[in-house]
């Protein structure tokens, strides 16, 4: 089916390629949400041989030009028909009350629009906004009839129409939603501005809210990652090791490719270092990985690696390991996932380290982390990417929990790091709790982080209650 670009790449993706031509689409949203900006993008996306007409009831043409210029949108190919009142309407007291507005305005308005349409023969029209016609109709029936007839007139001319509405509790726009072939909603929630398609006759579309931003360059839409329905099957599952024999032995060779692994434990135990080891070993085998640092400064991360004598700098410098510092307050969650996806598609990244889940949660701005992390990790995994999630647990000792965010179900593999107190000494233990695609060494081992990364000690024997952090000799239990 032929599709017309909306002029916004991310929105086209949500609409499975764009708008179906010669139909009408409603853009809904409160003031300042980006309705006019989206309309301008749509009109500027004309192909050769097409023409675009902007019918505006609110802003004068000069103001539309300057607003578009401020956003960096070139509107030179658009014909503007501004039906907004000029300043003289106020200064010369041109308001009236002898007739109803419908009696006076409707006919000349219709004539002006018809004249513009016949003169320019547009293939794309944006009407901003159709709510204005409501005030010119004598009743709701007349309004609906008029809108239907107006849209039919335009689409029968071969035009694809976008029209905006301003809905409020006093003046809902449910009628326009029924009339339109498609409905695009511009909204906001706790995590930022979103776009949501709620209707698209004759086509499927990607459900749900997707983050968007109106900034320099206009509107950007970041389609939310939804895991593909099928995993990309790799007939030969590869193993991702650390290059440290004892860890790889515990993992029976390493983590299987395309799986999701949770590295969990309290602060300062070496979770990021362990993840780095997987990335370094992957680079040694010629596979590219990406580490997204939400919390630690990149300079500190690199310096620490250097102090531990981890060979991170070289693969980082030559691009085998991509490290990106992510400021969660600056990113929208969907924007971040889109960035990760781009790196997978454009840079051929095969392993992604999310450091950490808490930082990702900050980027969500209050949205439920579990659902979003599910979409993120499963989405990457089904693209054939191996995912490492770094998860910090607040409790240093005490009752053992894999995660305080209820995300353990998501993981194919769980590696946990644990503090334990023995004879007044704080020691570290590492263990594997789960590994879906192969067996593993189910014994706990002590470990230390030092030069070269992890030094794995002997399996812990003769102690009970290690997971609680305060083990006691087995014969005392």
């Amino acid at each position: 089916m032929e599709r017309l670009s909306t002029g916004v790449e991310g929105l086209d993706e949500i609409l499975n390629g764009g708008l179906i031509p010669q139909r009408s689409y409603l853009i809904r949203g409160g003031p300042g949400r980006g309705k006019t900006t989206l309309g301008l993008h749509f009109l500027t996306a004309i192909n050769e041989g097409e023409s675009a007409l902007f019918i505006g009831f609110q802003e004068p043409e000069a103001q539309l030009h300057s607003n578009a210029a401020a956003l960096g949108i070139d509107v030179s190919a658009i014909t503007f028909l501004s039906l907004a009142p000029d300043a003289q309407f106020f200064t010369e007291q041109q308001s009236y009350d002898v007739f109803a507005a419908a009696d006076v305005e409707q006919q000349p308005l219709v004539e002006t629009i018809i004249q513009a349409v016949e003169c320019h023969n547009p293939t794309r029209v944006f009407v901003d906004s159709l709510s204005q016609l409501r005030f010119l109709a004598t009743d709701i029936f007349q309004y609906r009839k008029q809108v239907l007839s107006f849209l039919r007139y335009l689409t029968q001319q071969g035009t694809t129409v976008l029209f905006s509405s301003e809905s409020s509790q006093e003046l809902p726009d449910d009628d326009l939603q029924f009339i339109a072939d498609g409905v695009i909603n511009l909204e906001t929630d706790v995590s930022g501005a979103t776009i949501r398609v709620s209707k698209m006759r004759g086509s499927s579309f990607r459900f749900g809210m997707h983050h968007m931003r109106v900034a320099d360059g206009g509107m950007e839409v970041f389609p939310r990652m939804i895991p593909a329905s099928n995993r990309r099957i790799e007939f030969e599952l590869q193993r991702w090791g650390t290059g440290i024999q004892k860890i790889d032995d515990i993992l029976h060779g390493g983590l299987a490719s395309t799986t999701i692994s949770l590295i969990t434990g309290p602060s300062g135990m070496g979770k990021s270092t362990l993840a780095s080891l997987f990335a370094i070993e992957a680079a040694r085998q010629g596979k590219r990985s990406a580490i997204f640092l939400f919390e630690e400064e990149m300079a500190f991360f690199l310096r620490r690696a250097k102090e531990l004598r981890l060979p991170l700098e070289e693969p980082f410098t030559n691009g085998e390991i991509l490290i990106e510092q992510v400021e969660p307050m600056r990113y929208l969650a969907d924007e971040f996932t889109m960035r990760v996806r781009q790196q997978i598609e454009e840079a051929g990244v095969k392993m992604v380290v999310l450091d950490s889940v808490t930082g990702f949660e900050v980027a969500l701005g209050g949205e439920a982390v579990r659902e979003r992390l599910h979409a993120f990790a499963k989405g990457l995994s089904r693209l054939g990417v191996t995912v490492l999630l770094i998860n910090e647990i607040e409790a240093m000792t005490g009752e053992f929990r894999i995660s305080e965010k209820n995300i353990s179900y998501l993981s194919d593999n769980v590696i946990f790091l644990r503090y334990m107190e023995i004879d007044g000494m704080l020691k570290k233990a590492i263990g594997v709790l789960k590994k879906r695609l192969s067996g593993f060494d189910n014994r706990l081992h002590t470990f230390e982080v030092g030069p070269g990364g992890f030094k794995i000690g002997q399996p812990i024997h003769g102690l009970h209650g290690v997971l609680g952090g305060a083990p006691v000799p087995q014969d005392e239990s």
Partner: protein, 125 residues
């Protein structure tokens, strides 16, 4: 028909927007409309030939100044000019009283264009 087309209609009202839309509506039917904002200009217009065929008075514009409204009615009556009174709903009682001063009709704003035109046809023809 020709006489009706050239007959002037006095628009005795102050609001420029009302005069403008009235003139637009009347010109569509071939009636020139002249805006008259006060009694003095009304007297001047009535002194000139040809005599207007009809007056339309928007009493809302003259507020509660009964004396001024009364002077307008008197002026129009003295020159045998039929007139229609337009009134806002809140001063409709005041408008009703205009019937006793010779108004042929009183209409409440906003008025239906078609009703007004029908009335004008009957009075100005």
């Amino acid at each position: 028909m020709m006489a009706a087309a050239t007959a002037k209609i006095l628009l005795i009202m102050k609001q420029p927007g009302n005069i403008r839309v009235m003139q637009q509506v009347l010109s569509g039917l071939g009636y020139p409309g002249q805006g008259i904002p006060n009694v003095t200009e009304l007297q001047t217009a009535l002194a000139k030939a040809p005599h207007p065929r009809l007056g339309i008075v928007d009493i809302t514009d003259f507020g509660s100044n009964n004396r001024q409204i009364h002077a307008i009615y008197t002026c129009l009556q003295e020159h045998s000019i039929p007139f229609i009174v337009l009134s806002a709903p809140q001063v409709f009682n005041l408008g009703n009283r205009s019937l006793t001063y010779g108004a042929t009709n009183i209409l409440q704003k906003p008025i239906a264009k078609s009703a007004l035109l029908q009335l004008i046809h009957g009075l100005a023809a």
